[in-house]
Each structure stands twice: as C-alpha cells, then as structure tokens.
C-alpha cells in the first residue's frame, strides 16, 4: 500500500514536471498562431482608451499585421526605460514604444533606437497617410533627433513626436486678489519680471510666526523650483545654456547660468531655506490633496499636464496661466518670454524584428483620424467620471490647434478660466527651448538638480569664502565635473579589451566539477577513517542536487560573473570591456554612494525598534492572557499585508492631512499640555517652536523615520518568534530565580534575556541582511526622495544598473554591498560569543 503511494507520488511528480516544462517552453515562445506578423506596442496610459479601436481598424486595413498592445508600468519616464532595457536585453523587445523624448539622445547614442530617417524618406509622396514632420512643432522634432557630439552632419530622426508640453506660471487669482495685488480695474495682476516675482513670493508667503521665515511656512507664495521648472527654466530665461552648441562642453558654470541659480537661491533664502519649501513639495500629494488646489501654494511654475489636475479636482478654481517672469534686462532687450518644452514620442528599438511593420503602425497612429479618435476616447473617459476634459498638446501643430478648438474653445461647458489658459498656452508652446539632446542628458539633468540643491543649502559657502570664489558658481563648477567626465568618455573611443567569457566558464565549470570529484575521492579514501560509504554519498548528492544545481547556476556563477563585470564597462546592449579598477575608483569618489550608505545605515535603527515592539507584544501575550490567539492574530495582521499594498496605504496615511495619524497628532498638539510645552520650548529655542503634524515623507529629515515607523507597525512578525522562544523557557529557571529572591525585572534580565539571546542574534543577523536590501519601500513610496534622503543602497544599485545602464558600476556597488554584509554578519557572530547563551539543545 505504502509502496504504491510512493510510486503514485513519483508518477505525479514526474507528470507535473513534464507538464510544467512543456508549459514553460510553450510560454517562452512568442505565440504566433495565425501567421500574421506581430507588432508589440507599449502604449502609455496617456495615449487614450480607444487605442484598441484604432488598432482594430489598423488590423483591418493591414490584414498582414497583428498588434499586441499593453500599457507600460512606469514609476516615471526614467523608470520605464528600465523595463524597456530589460526587454531589449531579454531579446524580445517591443516593436513600438511610447517614449519620453528627453531620453532619445541617450538611447540613440547607444544604438538602442532605430534611425527612422530612411523610413520617413522612403514614403510615397502621394500616399494620403504620409507622415510629414514639417507640420510638427520644430523643437519637438529636434528633441527627437540626434547626432554624435561634435559632429556637424544633419541630425537623424529617432522618434516621431506625439505630444508636447511646456512650463508656465500658474497663479491662484483669489489669493493674489486677497493680497491686494490688482491692476487699476481691480483685477488680479500677475508678475512679469524676476523682481516682481520675488516680491510676490514674499508678500504671498505666510509663516507660522509672522515675519519669521525660520518658524516655518504655512503658505508658499512662490518657490522657483516648486512644481516643474528647474535650473533649466531660469538659465534659458537669463539667456544661458547648460551645454555648448556643439555638444562637447558643459557650460553649467557660465555667467548666465550662475545668475539664474543665484536668483533661485535668493528667493529660497527669503523663504527661510529649502527645507521649508520641501515640506510643500507635492511629489506624493496627488489629486485632491495637491497644495496648489488647497490654496497652500499661491503661484508655481508647472507643466501643461497640471491643467489636468486642475480640471479633475477643482474645475472651479480661479487661476491663471501665464508665461513665467523674465529678468528685467532680457525683457528690455526685447526678448519674448521663454519656457522649455518636452514630451513624448513613438520609437522603434533597433533590435525589433518587425521594423517596417512598426513604422507602418506609427504612421497610422499619427493620422488625424486616429489622433481625433484617441482624443475623443480620452474625453469620454473623463466625462464618464464626471470630469472636465482638457486635451494634451499634440506634436502636430495643426492637430493641436484643431483639438483646442473642438475640446476647449467650442465647448460651451468649458469654464472660462481654462479657455483663457489654453489661449496663452497655444501661443507659448510655439517656441520653447529644449534640454540639450546629448548622450549625457540624464547625468546633466541629475547634476543640475544637485547643483541647485547645493546652492540653496549653501553647501559651498565656507569653501567659497576661503578661496574668494563665488559660492553659486563654485557649486555649478563642482557639479559640472562629472558631466564633463562622462561626456568625454562618451566621445572617446571605447576601451579596447572586450571581455571573453569562455575562459571564465571553463574555470568555473572546472571548479564545480572539481568539488564533486573531491567529494567522491574523499569518500573512497576515507571510507575507513570517517565511515563514509559511496552509497550514502551518492544519496547525499542526489538529495543535495537541486540546491547544488541552483547554487552553481543562480548564485555561484552570477557572483563570479558580477565580480568580473565590476571591472568592466557594460550596458547590456554592447559587449563588456575591461576598465580595470575604474568602477571602484568612481564609487569611492561618488558622494551619492556615501549618501545611500548612510541612508541604509540609518535604517538599521528599525531592527531594535521592531524587535523591541515585537518583544513587548510577546511578553504581554505570554502572561497567560485570555484570548491569546485572537490578540496574536490581530497583531499579526499587518504582517500579512502585501508589501506593495502596505506601502500604498502608508503613503496615503503619511500624506493625507486628514489621515487619522495627522488628525490625531493635530488634536494632541491642540491640548493644553502640548501648548504649554510649546510655550516653554519657544522661550528657550533659537527659532520659534510650533507643534504641528509633520510632513512625514516630504521632509528629508523625517522620511527615513517614517519608513521605520511603517516597519514597526508590522512588528507582529517578530512577535510570533519571540512568543515561541518565551514558551520554550523552562519554568524551573524562573522558579529557581524567584527562590533566590529575584523580582520580575531581575528575572527578566537574568533569565528571559539570556534564554532569548539566540533569537536576538538570529533576528539581528536577518535584520541587518534585510535592511541592506531595502528597496520596495523607496521604489513605491518615495522614489528615493526627497533630496535623496531615501535613496537606499539597493535602490541606488538598481538605478545604476537598470536606469543608467551602468552594469559595471552597479556590479562594483553590489560587490561592496556583499563584502559589507559579510563583514557585518561575521562581526555579529564574533561579538555574539560573548553574550549569546546556548542551552544544551
């Protein structure tokens, strides 16, 4: 009977294995059942619901094609690149991708995108569906085109622009009117120059203690980098550029750019510093909680897309959209207000297997019929939710204006504020500047943010004073260096030594085989002395085989591989090339590396907190309280909540002003004792003290602690383990201690703690390892911000690898992490010998 069931079990297992392998083989092939050529299309969600209707029609018109469309899942535009890169490296790239135009320069320089110029030129001039880019906003086409830095050949087109956006000043007219800044007719008047802007900012801002910026902002008048403007905006306005026209030199520290950054810094100084403003940064305050909507921010510079937020959540808001103010002297020179634009495009990855088909689809999607249909479906979607529909700006100028007419100007239900907004928008979107198209676009982007952060925090003030330099310029010079470094690298020929992998494979395979051979040889030779038998060794190897195989292929091999990679430059798309110790050298010189290390170290804090909370719960439960299982279950409930779900929940708890956490704190701070504490603290502190619910995730000082707090909430996981440990402590020990006259605290300290010490050790080792890997929290909740305060090591590594293509650099980081974890664990084990108590078991 029993033997039969073993056979049945073996049979079942075998059939399962066969079924699974058949299924995996099948699923790994691209399903291509009906002989049509498949086109895989990654459509962004913003493209419109009727994309499927459009595709259906496309398949009717071109029966030889089958379109597989999905929407991309991206944290942001850069995040999506990570998935695209994976797909390209995975050998099954999508054929058409909805792509952030800004990244085209970088991707094109890595030969990851197909040059569309020949496809465009090969079109039949008489074709009614001919794609003609001459009617497009020229700056959008320029942003979608690229040429190597320093080259003078004509730019090649790598993407077909679809939507464009630009940045404008949004102003809350009610607040401006309230403040009395009106023209002679009593209508609110908007600032047009930098000087006016600064004055408005000061007049519209409110501090907790009037006139004391250091007491904290309660209302933000205007902050230069709040919303979406960045150093680019002010640099363009002051007539400066961040990269020389030939694309070979970083000109971030030119006088014009310095002037722009100084203006930004000055306004922040007026407001009491960047920390105050960061508290308002809306990164996670979406939708109905947006501070501008709630009147907590009077003016800001933001993108076209912000109109949608207004339409969705406060269509009756009294706002105006206007060109961003300019420096006085630039206006005097007769320059028109400038802004900078960006947007989306459709691209074809260079490894796509269906390029011509992909181009056909792009052409089709860019016809007026389809554009109008997609626009209509977006409108229907909004209307089905009872919301105002505001069209995005199409990259084809004529399409854009037609959509404005039908969706905004001719729509009688459209609030007048939006009509006015679209009138100024239509005018301004004609001639924006663009960020330079360059292989180092993303680094430049990151570094201009760093420069801004350094300048407003006066990071180089002391150094500049000592050397007699200008503080702002020094910040820019410093931050320009890494960009120039990468730019030089991109224009230099590649390192000559391509990695050949076969020797490594041979050596590694040899080592694995040697180990196995060693096991067999030792069995034979030590048969007598150690009592080994070939039969048992054979059985052991059979039992260990799954793990051994997994280790060799998925752990050991990859570790060797990543060690080799850490000495190379590798971007997955091209061969790895040796660069020696350069990666390690760069890591040591990289301030972000240290920052992420410190951030991760801070998270170690959660280990004792979570352990302590779990222990308290376990101690309470171990008092023999009735309803144990009910309590235990309730306390464990948060642990069963999936991490992504928990992250979303807590994002909202932290951000929403109305969440019980913030409401509760405000209620608490409004009581007499809290007021008294506040009053006393106010007498002694150098700056005014006001108790208020903190801005958990938006405050760089608090963001990590907020994540720790979320972890403590799920301390029930440890509790189960503690409880098991407590229940295994023999009663006699306590009885003996009681007889010796030990009170409850001494019993706890001298009996419970030593008996639990193995658990403490285990938890701290596992905790340290887990902490070094914190990733999802930062990815989902904060995106590494604010000001890199939650950029944890694992996240930084992920970014380097899958967002910036720096696989070699990421491997170096990974190895440093590995060594750090190893050392920490060994250290804990070493120290543990002194305090961990093992009983007879």
């Amino acid at each position: 009977m029993k033997r039969l069931s073993l056979r049945v079990a073996a049979l079942l297992f075998l059939s399962l294995a066969v079924a699974v392998s058949w299924w995996t083989v099948r699923s790994s092939r691209e399903a291509n059942e009906d002989g049509r050529e498949p086109i895989v299309f990654w459509a962004g969600w913003m493209i419109g619901d009727d994309i499927y209707a459009a595709i259906d029609r496309f398949e009717h018109v071109h029966p030889q094609y089958r379109v597989v469309a999905t929407t991309g899942t991206a944290q942001d535009a850069v995040g999506d690149a990570q998935r695209l890169l994976s797909a390209i490296a995975g050998g099954v790239p999508p054929d058409v991708v909805f792509f952030d135009r800004f990244a085209i320069g970088e991707w094109a320089s890595r030969h990851a995108l197909e040059d569309l110029t020949p496809y465009l030129d090969a079109q039949d001039p008489a074709d009614p569906e001919r794609l003609d880019l001459s009617g497009y906003y020229p700056w959008a086409v320029e942003e979608a085109s690229s040429r190597p830095p320093g080259s003078l050949e004509p730019r090649r087109i790598y993407g077909v622009p679809t939507a464009v956006d630009a940045r404008f000043l949004y102003a809350n007219l009610d607040l401006i009117r309230q403040e009395g800044m009106t023209d002679e007719r009593g209508e609110p008047k908007l600032p047009t120059t930098w000087g006016e802007l600064r004055e408005y900012s000061n007049r519209l801002s409110r501090f907790r203690v009037p006139g004391r910026p250091d007491s904290g902002l309660v209302r933000l008048g205007f902050a230069p980098n709040y919303g979406d403007s960045f150093l680019y905006m002010y640099a363009f306005e002051a007539g400066g550029r961040l990269l020389s026209p030939d694309g070979l030199r970083v000109t971030m520290d030119s006088p014009e750019v310095t002037r722009a950054l100084r203006f930004m810094t000055d306004v922040y100084d007026d407001l009491g510093g960047i920390a105050q403003v960061n508290a308002f940064q809306q990164s996670a305050q979406l939708g109905p909680l947006d501070p501008f909507l709630k009147g907590q921010v009077a003016m800001k510079i933001d993108g076209t897309w912000y109109l949608e937020t207004l339409g969705d959540w406060k269509p009756d808001m009294n706002f105006a959209l206007a060109p961003a103010p300019m420096p006085e002297d630039q206006l005097a020179k007769g320059r028109a207000p400038v802004t900078w634009g960006s947007g989306w495009s459709l691209v074809v990855p260079s490894t796509s297997r269906h390029k011509q088909a992909a181009f056909e689809l792009i052409r089709y999607l860019r016809t007026w019929d389809v554009v109008a249909m997609l626009d209509r479906s977006k409108r229907e979607r909004k209307q089905s939710e009872g919301r105002v529909y505001l069209p995005t700006v199409d990259a084809d100028r004529w399409f854009a204006h037609r959509l404005f007419e039908q969706d905004v100007f001719d729509d009688r239900a459209m609030p007048e504020t939006f009509r006015r907004a679209y009138r100024s928008l239509a005018e301004l979107v004609d001639h924006p500047e663009i960020r330079p198209v360059s292989p180092v676009g993303q680094v430049l982007w990151r570094q201009q943010i760093r420069a801004f952060e350094a300048a407003v925090a006066h990071k180089y003030a002391a150094e500049a004073r000592a050397s007699g330099q200008d503080e702002v310029q020094l910040a820019l010079t410093r931050m320009a260096e890494p960009v120039q470094h990468q730019l030089d690298e991109a224009t230099r020929p590649l390192p000559p030594n391509v990695v050949r992998w076969s020797p490594y494979f041979l050596v590694y395979g040899g080592a694995v085989l040697a180990f196995l051979a060693g096991v067999v040889v030792l069995t034979l030779r030590r048969r007598r002395s150690h009592g080994y038998s070939l039969q048992q060794t054979g059985a052991a190897l059979l039992f260990a085989s799954p793990w051994f195989l997994g280790f060799a292929v998925l752990t050991g091999g990859p570790i060797v591989f990543s060690l080799v990679l850490s000495f190379t430059r590798y971007d997955i798309l091209t061969d790895a090339r040796y660069v020696g110790l350069a990666n390690y050298h760069d890591v040591i010189a990289d301030p972000t590396f240290y920052k992420s290390l410190l951030n991760t170290a801070y998270m170690i804090l959660r280990i004792p907190l979570v352990m302590g909370a779990g222990l308290v719960m376990a101690l309470l439960l171990n008092t023999g309280v009735r309803g144990l299982s009910l309590y235990r279950a309730s306390l464990y409930l948060p642990v069963t909540m999936p991490l992504v779900a928990a992250c979303l929940l807590w994002t909202w708890i932290f951000n929403s002003r109305e969440s019980f956490l913030n409401e509760g704190l405000r209620f608490l701070f409004d009581t007499a004792p809290a007021r008294a504490i506040e009053w006393v603290a106010d007498r002694f502190a150098s700056q005014p003290v006001r108790l208020d619910a903190p801005l958990w995730l938006q405050d760089p000082k608090l963001s990590k602690f907020s994540l720790v707090l979320m972890n403590v909430w799920a301390a029930g996981g440890g509790m189960v383990i503690w409880l098991a440990g407590l229940q295994s402590i023999p009663r006699q020990l306590y009885e003996a201690a009681s007889i010796d006259g030990a009170g409850p605290f001494r019993r706890f300290w001298h009996v419970t703690v030593p008996m639990l010490s193995p658990y403490i050790l285990f938890n701290s080792i596992v905790g340290v390892i887990a902490t070094m890997q914190v990733f999802a929290e930062a990815y989902v909740m904060t995106g590494g911000g604010p000001v890199d305060s939650t950029l944890f090591y694992a996240f930084y590594l992920f970014r380097q690898a899958f967002q910036f293509f720096q696989m070699g650099y990421a491997s170096a980081l990974a190895w440093i992490l590995f060594v750090a974890v190893l050392l920490l664990t060994l250290l804990q084990l070493r120290v543990s010998k002194r305090w961990v108590h093992y009983d007879q078991a």
Binding site: A89, G557, V644, A841
Partner: protein
C-alpha cells in the same frame, strides 16, 4: 510582570453578581492582576488595526468625501422626490480674519448674498422644491465662495468698503452657478452613437424635448438649459420604475453590427436610484449587464457597449456591457430605453460599498493579475516545500565529505543580497528564453532557498535516529525513508515554510518588475503598482484594490495559523 504559562492557565473564577462595592473591588483587583495586560494589548491591537480599518473606510468613499476629509463615509439616503435641494454649507472664516470682525461683518454680507440669489431663482420652481430652502442653500454656497475671494485688506477697512468689494464678487455667473449647484437633479443632455469605424453620430441633444418621452412611471421631462430635467417621485421602494424611451433610426451607412457604443451624457442627482438600459436594434434586444447608479452630482457620461474588440484587450472597462436579452422586431428603427428604478436604503448602501471595488476590477485586468499571482504562488510554494525538505535531508542526516563546506556555502547564500546577482541572473534567464515569463520568479524555489533548508535541517536534527534505523531494517531505501519516515514528522515546519513562501511569492515585486513585459502576465503586486501609476490620484479605488490584494494573504495565514506558529516553535530558531 511576567507570569509563566502553566501557572496562570487555571480557570478564572466567574463569581456571580454581588453587591456593587464588592464588584468594584473585584474589577479593581482584576485590573491590577491581569486587566492591565488586556488594556495594553487592546491599545496595541488598535494601533495595528486602525490603518486597515481606515483603508477599508477609504475604499468605500467617493472622491468628494475624500476631498472633504470626513472620517466616515456618508450613507446614501432614500430620495422620494427629485429634484431636491442640497444641504446648506457652513460658512468658513478665512484664517487671517479676526473672529469678532468676521461675525460683525457677516450679517451684512449675508444680506447682500440673499438678495443676489433671490433675483436669480427661476420663476417656475420645480415641483416639490421649496423656493425658500433653495434660496437659503444657494446663498450659503455663494457666501462661502465669495468670502474666500475677498481681498485681505478689505476686512480691515470700513463696512462700506467691504460691502463694495464683496458686491464685485457676486457676478451673475457666480450667482447662477451657486443656484444651479445647490439643486440636485437628474438631467439628460446628449445621446451619441459611435460606430466601430470611429464615426460619431449625435442621436439626441438635450435641449430638444421631443427626443425623449416618458413611457411609464410618475415622472415628467422639463427642458432646463441645454438639457432635459427629469422630475420624478417614488413613494416607496416598491413603486413602479420610470421608463424613458428614445426612438431613433440607424444612420445611413451604419449596420447594427457596426455599433461600437452608445454614449449617454447625464447629470445624476446623487439619489443612488438605479438605471438599466435596453437597446432594440437589428432584430436583437440588448440589455445592460449591470446597473448604473445615480451617484454624485457632477455631469458624466455612461457608455453602453455590445461585446466587441474592446473585450479582448486590457483597457479599463469604463463602459456598461450590453448583453442579448431576446429577439426584437426592430431593425433599423432602433429603440433605446432607460429604466429608472427606486433603490432601497440597503441596496444603495451596498451599491456604494461595492462601487470602488467594481471600478478596481474594471480598470485593470484584475482577475488575470490574480490568476498570475495564484499560479506564481502555487508553483513557488510547492517548489519550496519539496526542495527544502528534500535538500535538508542531505545535510541533516547523511554523512558525506564536503558536507561542512557545502553547509557553510548554503548558510552564506542567505547573506547575499539579491541585487548582487540581479544582473547576471537576468542574463541566465534571458539565455533560457524565459524573459517575459513567470518562470524566473518561481523556478528558483524548486532549487531550494537557504533559509527554508536551514529551518528544515534544524527540525530534522531533532527527529530521533531510531526511526530511520527501524526503516532500514524494514528494507526501505533512502528516498523511501525520507518520504515515509522523515517527511511526516516535518508537518509543522512544512506549514511554516509553506506560509512564508506563500507570503514571499504573493509579495514578489522586483522580479516581475525586471522580467515581465506584457501586462497580461503581471501578478497583483506589479499590477497594483501599475494602477497607482495609471490612476495615481484615485485613492479610493486604489484602496479598494489594496483590500482585494490583502484579503487572500490574510485568509491563508489564518487558515494555517496553528501550523505556522507550531512550525516556528518546533524549529526553535537556534542558530
């Protein structure tokens, strides 16, 4: 105070009810002895559960409620009449105005508002609407709006200046908006037909009263602006429904099979009464597959759609599907009917509770995500159970050279952060052609994870050797011994490994992020993140999806709770 289990697990004496002082003393004693434990535990439990309760409450709110920040969602009320007047708003004092000044100035402002509103009310007030109540409600809305716009300096000025400034704000638009907003009503504006080749035909525009007729029920259609207002009355929930009919001829070049959707624009009256639609065309009678509730007060559109290519896609299902409900004699002369039926209080509450959940289901391929997650979880859990019990035997029971080395290697892999092997592993899976499949996420489980193997080794070591020796005498081979003798002893640890690996796979996040290309292959965790990105601001729907994702893991834990705890206890975690 720490007490030992055995010592306290004696039955608590349930004394019969005595006189009050004695009882009080008892309560006091009870509090001192063990009540405080309950109090502390209850506090902790409240802390743990409140976020979850809050998540649930948020998942049943509308976005107006979220914006207002009410702690509890409001309950729908049964409406007898429509239109009806919405409740007045409380006036909010701007932060910078002193309370004394504000309350002194308020009567005059209120006076101005009331007179402005009085002149804007229509001469013919809808039936059942009390004009005075309507005027008062509109005034309160207008007052609130205008007060928030008043220049700050005006409050410091004289009453006359303040009044003058205030009057400027009472523009005809502002007044008529307030009057219109405060009347809750059901309006039909447009009905359009979209064909599958992308054409749009307007069938009925709201301003023309002839396009719709009331076929039955206690209701009438009244033109109102550029829409048709439906005045209706339901005495009770048993009242017959109101049926509205629109007859139309199919546009010339459109066949019945070419109908993509019918788009109806309405302004609902927040009564939570339900609408069902039917369409007779091309010899077929279509019926809406689910009701639409008249929720909220803002204009919106409803799309009714027969099955088509949209159903095969992953696009958000924002339409109401139509399904065949028999034959009809109408072909090109189509008939579109709306049935408005009364909703009882209970039905309305239920409709409101399920609303965001249905939206979550409709806006992403939720069931597909769920299926992927279950597949992933099932394969991972099965793999972990098998491999950990299997591999552990080699380490716990068999003697072979290299065992210590291998054990050290095994334990040290626990320390390797997955990020270290992320890039090379990716290359391995890609070479196997497993990019864009679920395989890279679950296949490793069949190779065994160090932690689970370790748990098993610890447990196996505690199993007495004699059992195996007996088996050997019975002539069982090694594999059989493992299967018949060892595995049955491992149940608690197997349960613990099972639960842990279930939770791990259910949570798996970075793997799908790197390895999956197609949305149809996403598991819930990544799908949820996608939802947050695509519908980021729609928190009530996100929280509903969050609830849906949390429930299965809670259920699994509670079903296996006993084994799980036992497994942890037996294993003992002794490093």
């Amino acid at each position: 105070m720490i007490r030992l289990e055995g010592a306290v697990l004696r039955p608590v004496d349930h004394a019969p009810f005595h006189v009050a002082p004695v009882a009080m003393a008892r309560v006091g004693r009870w509090m001192a002895r063990r009540g405080w434990v309950h109090v502390l535990l209850l506090t902790l439990v409240a802390g743990c559960l409140y976020p979850l309760a809050w998540m649930f409450l948020a998942s049943v709110k509308t976005d107006e409620e979220l914006r207002q920040g009410n702690a509890l969602p409001s309950l729908p009320v049964f409406r007898v009449h429509s239109p009806y007047v919405r409740p007045s708003l409380a006036v909010i004092r701007p932060d910078e105005v002193r309370a004394v000044r504000f309350s002194a100035a308020l009567p005059a402002l209120r006076e101005l508002t009331t007179s402005a509103v009085a002149s804007a009310l229509p001469a013919r007030v809808p039936p059942f609407v009390d004009p005075d109540v309507w005027a008062a409600s509109s005034s309160s809305a207008l007052l609130n709006r205008a007060v928030s716009q008043l220049p700050r300096q005006a409050w410091d000025d004289t009453d006359e200046v303040l009044a003058a400034q205030y009057r400027v704000l009472l523009t005809p638009d502002a007044v008529s908006n307030a009057v219109s907003d405060q009347l809750s009503r059901f309006e039909l504006s447009n009905l359009a037909l979209a064909s599958t080749d992308g054409q749009l035909f307007s069938l009925a525009s709201g301003a023309d009263p002839a396009t719709w007729r009331v076929e039955s029920g206690n209701a009438s259609l009244v033109p109102s602006g550029d829409a048709l207002r439906l005045d209706y009355q339901f005495g009770s929930t048993d009242d017959p429904p109101v049926v509205l009919v629109h007859d139309f001829a199919l546009p010339d070049d459109v066949q019945a099979s070419d109908i993509h959707k019918l788009v109806l624009s309405i302004r609902p009256d927040d009564s939570w009464h339900r609408i069902d639609a039917s369409l007779e065309v091309g010899g077929v009678r279509w019926k809406s597959a689910r009701p639409t509730y008249l929720a909220q007060n803002r204009p919106q559109s409803v799309a009714f759609q027969p099955p088509g290519f949209d159903d095969k896609t992953t696009r958000p299902r924002t339409w109401v599907p139509l399904r065949i409900d028999g034959a009809s004699d109408r072909r090109r002369n189509a008939r579109f009917a709306l049935t408005l039926s009364p909703t009882s209080q209970g039905q309305a509450v239920f409709a409101k509770v399920q609303r965001n959940y249905l939206r979550a289901f409709d806006s992403v391929p939720f069931l597909q995500y769920m299926g992927n997650s279950l597949l992933l979880v099932g394969l991972t859990t099965a793999g972990s159970l098998f491999s950990s019990a299997f591999v552990a035997y080699a380490f716990a029971r068999l003697e072979w050279p290299g065992r210590t080395t291998a054990l050290v290697l095994l334990l040290s892999t626990m320390m390797i952060p997955p990020q270290v092997t992320m890039v090379p592993s990716f290359v391995v899976w890609e070479r196997l052609g497993w990019y864009n499949t679920l395989n890279p996420m679950w296949v490793p489980a069949w190779f065994g994870s160090a932690f689970f193997i370790f748990l098993m080794i610890q447990h196996m070591k505690t199993i007495p050797r004699e059992l195996e020796e007996a088996a050997k005498i019975d002539g069982l081979g090694v594999v059989q011994t493992w299967w018949y003798v060892i595995v049955p002893q491992l149940k608690p640890t197997l349960a613990a490994v099972g639960v842990l690996s279930f939770l791990g796979a259910w949570n798996e996040f970075m793997g799908p992020l790197i390895y999956l290309r197609d949305q149809t292959k996403f598991p819930l965790s990544l799908g949820l993140l996608g939802m947050r990105i695509d519908h980021g601001a729609d928190w009530s729907m996100l929280m509903a999806a969050n609830m849906l994702m949390t429930v299965p893991s809670v259920v699994v834990f509670f079903c296996f709770q006993r084994y799980f705890v036992e497994g942890i206890t037996v294993t003992g975690m002794k490093a």
